[in-house]
C-alpha cells in the first residue's frame, strides 16, 4: 500500500521554500508598499502581500506535507468547502461592518 511515498528531497525542498517565504514575509513587513502604490489601495497592500505569502505557505504544507495530491478526490472538496464557508462568515459579517459607519465609541458602563 505504500503507493504515495514522495522522495525525501521533495520534503526538503518544500521545507526550504517555506523557510524562504518566512524570511521574505518578515523582510517585506518593513517595506511600506503604500509609497509605491496609488493612494487608496496603498493601505491594504502590506496586508495583502503578507496574507498572500501566508497562503502560499499554507498551500505548500497542505499539498505536500498533508499529501492532498496523493489522496482521494473528496479531500479537496472538504478543504474548498470549508474555505467557502469561512469566506461566507467573513464576507457577510464584513459587509455589515463596511456599510455601517463605525466611529469608535467607548461607552460609559455602569458597573
Amino acid at each position: 500500500m505504500s503507493v504515495h511515498v514522495a522522495p525525501l528531497k521533495t520534503y526538503i525542498y518544500v521545507f526550504l521554500a517555506l523557510m524562504f517565504f518566512t524570511v521574505l514575509t518578515v523582510g517585506v513587513a518593513f517595506v511600506n508598499f503604500a509609497h509605491h502604490a496609488p493612494k487608496g489601495i496603498g493601505n491594504v497592500l502590506n496586508d495583502a502581500v503578507a496574507m498572500s505569502i501566508a497562503l502560499t505557505k499554507a498551500v505548500l504544507v497542505v499539498a505536500f506535507f498533508m499529501h492532498v495530491k496523493g489522496s482521494t478526490k473528496i479531500t479537496p472538496v472538504v478543504i474548498w468547502g470549508t474555505l467557502i464557508f469561512m469566506v461566507i462568515l467573513f464576507v457577510f459579517t464584513g459587509a455589515d461592518y463596511l456599510t455601517r459607519p463605525m466611529t469608535t465609541f467607548v461607552p460609559v458602563m455602569s458597573q
Binding site: 468547502g81 464557508f85 461566507i88 456599510t99 455601517r100 458602563m109
Partner: protein, 546 residues
C-alpha cells in the same frame, strides 16, 4: 395496524438487545444501536426537564402580575428551558437517536465508520449535560439561551460559566456525530447504493452533518470567548475596550440560524420516509427533495442576520439577509409541496406515524410562513422579540421537529424494540398533542402582534385572556407528551412481536429482523433498486393497513 394474521412473527433469537446486559455492556458498547438507545435515555431526561420548565413558565404567565416566582427565578426558568430544549434535546434528538440507529442500516453498513468516537460523543454529551444540570441545580442562569453580551459576560448572575462550558462541551458531541455520519455516508455504502438510491432520511442527515461540522465550532469558540470575558472581566466583545457586542451576535447566529436546520432537516427526512411508506409511493420529486436538503443547509448559512434587524446592523446587510431569507424558504416549500403531491393517488394508511407526519406538514407550514414574515424587514421591526417570534419557533420546533421525531419514533419503534405499541392510545395522544399544541401557541401569534415582548415575567392586563388560553393549551400538550411515554414503555412488556416489516415498507432496515442483530446484516446487502419502489398492486405483498 393489523399485521398479525400471518404466522405470528417471533422475536429473533439473537439481536442487539439480547446480548449481555451488565452495565459495561451498555456503557462501553460500540454498537451504534445501543448507543442510539443511550442517547434516547439522555434526551428524554432533558426533554422532561425542559418540559418541567415550560410548565413553570406557563403557570407564571397565567396571571399578569409576576406572583408565582420572583423575576429572576422566572428568567432562569426560561433560559434553562431554552438551553435544555435546544442544545440537549432537539439538536441531538433525531440524529443521535434515530440517525444513529438507522443510518448505518439504511446504507447497508455494519456500523458507523468510527464506533468508538460515536460512544465518545455520547459521553461528551452527557458530561456537557451533567454540567448544565449542575448549573441548573445551583440556581440556573438568566442570560436567555442566546447568551447575548454584555449581559452574559458581565451582568448576569448565576453559574453562567458552568452552563456555557456545558453547552460548549455538548457542541463537540454534535460535531463528532456529524463527522461520523459524513464519513459513514461517503465510505460505507453497500455496493450498488448510489447517491440517488439513498433514502431521503440519509440525505437529510447528510445535510445536517454539514451544518454540524461547519457551524458548531463557530459557536463553540464564541461561547468560549464569552466565558473568558466573564472570567477575566475583559474580552473581545467588551464595549469598554472598544469591543462590539454586535459581533457576538454575528458569531452566535452564524451557528444558531443554521442550527435550526439541524433541528428540522432530520425531521424532514423522517417525514419523507413516513409519507412514502404510508402512501406506498415513491416520494414525488425525489431528487428535488434530496437537493432541497442540501440547499437548505447551504443557504441556511447566509441568512443569520435576520435575527439582528433591530440591533443596529447596517441597512445593506439587513437587506441582503432579508432577501436570502426568502431564498432559503424555497427549498422548504419544495419539500412541503412534494410531500403533498406524494399523497396524491397514494394508498394511504392512517397509522400513527402518518398522523404525525401530516401534523408536521401543516404546522411546519404555519411556522415557516410566519418565519418568512419575520424575515421581512419592516415587519420584523415590530414583532422582533415579541411572542410572535416565540410562536413562530415553537411551531417549527415543536409542531415541526418534535412531531417529526415522534412520528419517527413510532414508525421505527417496532424495528428498535421488536414490539408493537398500543394503537388506540397512540392515536389519541397524537390528537391531544395536535390540539394542545395549537391552543398553546396560536394565541401567542396574536399576543406578539399586539406587542407583548418575550421574556417578560409580568405583563399588562390586556394580554391575560390570550395567555390563559396558552397556559390551558400547555397543560393539554403536556398530557399529550406524557401518554406516549407510558404506552411506549408498556409495549416493552408486550408479548406481541412486531415482525420484520409491520408496515409493509421498503428500505434496507425493513429487510432485517426486528430488533436487528448486532452486525445488522448477515450477508452484506447489494442494492439494485431505486428507493421507495413499491411493488405493483396485484403482487400479494406484506399485509398491512387500514
Amino acid at each position: 395496524m393489523t399485521s398479525q394474521h400471518e404466522s405470528a412473527p417471533a422475536l429473533p433469537e439473537k439481536h442487539y438487545l439480547s446480548g449481555a446486559w451488565s452495565p459495561q455492556d451498555w456503557l462501553l458498547t460500540k454498537d451504534h444501536k445501543r448507543i442510539g438507545i443511550l442517547y434516547l435515555v439522555g434526551i428524554s431526561i432533558f426533554f422532561a426537564l425542559g418540559g418541567l420548565m415550560a410548565v413553570l413558565i406557563r403557570m407564571e404567565l397565567a396571571t399578569p402580575s409576576g406572583d408565582l416566582m420572583p423575576a429572576d427565578v422566572y428568567n432562569r426558568v426560561f433560559t434553562m428551558h431554552g438551553v435544555l430544549m435546544v442544545f440537549f434535546f432537539l439538536i441531538p434528538s433525531i440524529p443521535a437517536v434515530l440517525g444513529n440507529f438507522l443510518l448505518p442500516i439504511m446504507i447497508g453498513a455494519k456500523d458507523l465508520a468510527f464506533p468508538k468516537i460515536n460512544l465518545l460523543s455520547w459521553y461528551i454529551y452527557m458530561i456537557g449535560g451533567a454540567m448544565t444540570f449542575y448549573g441548573l441545580l445551583v440556581g440556573g442562569i438568566d442570560t436567555g439561551w442566546t447568551f447575548y453580551t454584555p449581559l452574559s459576560s458581565g451582568y448576569a448572575t448565576g453559574p453562567v460559566l458552568t452552563v456555557a462550558v456545558g453547552v460548549f462541551i455538548a457542541g463537540f458531541s454534535s460535531i463528532l456525530t456529524g463527522l461520523n455520519f459524513i464519513v459513514t455516508i461517503h465510505r460505507m455504502r453497500a455496493p450498488g447504493l448510489t447517491w440517488f438510491r439513498l433514502p431521503l432520511f440519509v440525505w437529510g442527515h447528510y445535510a445536517t452533518s454539514i451544518i454540524q461540522i461547519l457551524g458548531t465550532p463557530v459557536v463553540a469558540i464564541t461561547i468560549l470567548l464569552v466565558g473568558a470575558e466573564r472570567l477575566f472581566h475583559i474580552g473581545v466583545f467588551d464595549p469598554k475596550i472598544g469591543g462590539d457586542p454586535i459581533l457576538f451576535q454575528h458569531l452566535f447566529w452564524f451557528y444558531s440560524h443554521p442550527a435550526v436546520y439541524i433541528m428540522i432537516l432530520p425531521s424532514m427526512g423522517v417525514v419523507s420516509e413516513i409519507i412514502a411508506a404510508f402512501s406506498r409511493k415513491k416520494v414525488f420529486g425525489y431528487k428535488f427533495v434530496a437537493f432541497a436538503s442540501i440547499g437548505i443547509a447551504v443557504l441556511g448559512f447566509l441568512v443569520w442576520g435576520h435575527h439582528m434587524f433591530t440591533s443596529g446592523q447596517s441597512l445593506y446587510a439587513g437587506a441582503v439577509f432579508s432577501f436570502i431569507t426568502m431564498l432559503v424558504a424555497v427549498p422548504s416549500a419544495i419539500k412541503v409541496f412534494n410531500w403533498t403531491a406524494t399523497l396524491y393517488k397514494g394508498a394511504i394508511a392512517w397509522d400513527t406515524p402518518l398522523l404525525y407526519a401530516l401534523g408536521f406538514i401543516g404546522l411546519f407550514t404555519i411556522g415557516g410562513l410566519t418565519g418568512v414574515m419575520l424575515g421581512t424587514l419592516g415587519f420584523d421591526l415590530h414583532v422582533h422579540d415579541t411572542y410572535f417570534v416565540v410562536a413562530h419557533f415553537h411551531y417549527v420546533m415543536v409542531g415541526g421537529a418534535i412531531l417529526g421525531f415522534l412520528g419517527g419514533l413510532h414508525y421505527w419503534w417496532p424495528k428498535i424494540t421488536g414490539k408493537l405499541y398500543n394503537e388506540f392510545w397512540s392515536k389519541i395522544s397524537a390528537g391531544i398533542i395536535f390540539i394542545g399544541f395549537n391552543l398553546t401557541f396560536f394565541p401567542q401569534f396574536i399576543l406578539g402582534y399586539l406587542g407583548m415582548p418575550r421574556r417578560y415575567h409580568s405583563y399588562p392586563e390586556e394580554f391575560q385572556v390570550l395567555n390563559i388560553l396558552s397556559s390551558a393549551g400547555a397543560s393539554i400538550l403536556g398530557i399529550g407528551f406524557v401518554i406516549p411515554v407510558i404506552y411506549l414503555l408498556a409495549s416493552l412488556a408486550n408479548k406481541r412481536y412486531a415482525g420484520n416489516n409491520p408496515w409493509g415498507a421498503v428500505g434496507l432496515e425493513w429487510q432485517i429482523p426486528s430488533p436487528p442483530p448486532t452486525e445488522n446484516f448477515e450477508t452484506p446487502p447489494v442494492v439494485t433498486d431505486e428507493p421507495y419502489t413499491y411493488p405493483q398492486p396485484d403482487e400479494k405483498e406484506a399485509p398491512v393497513g387500514v
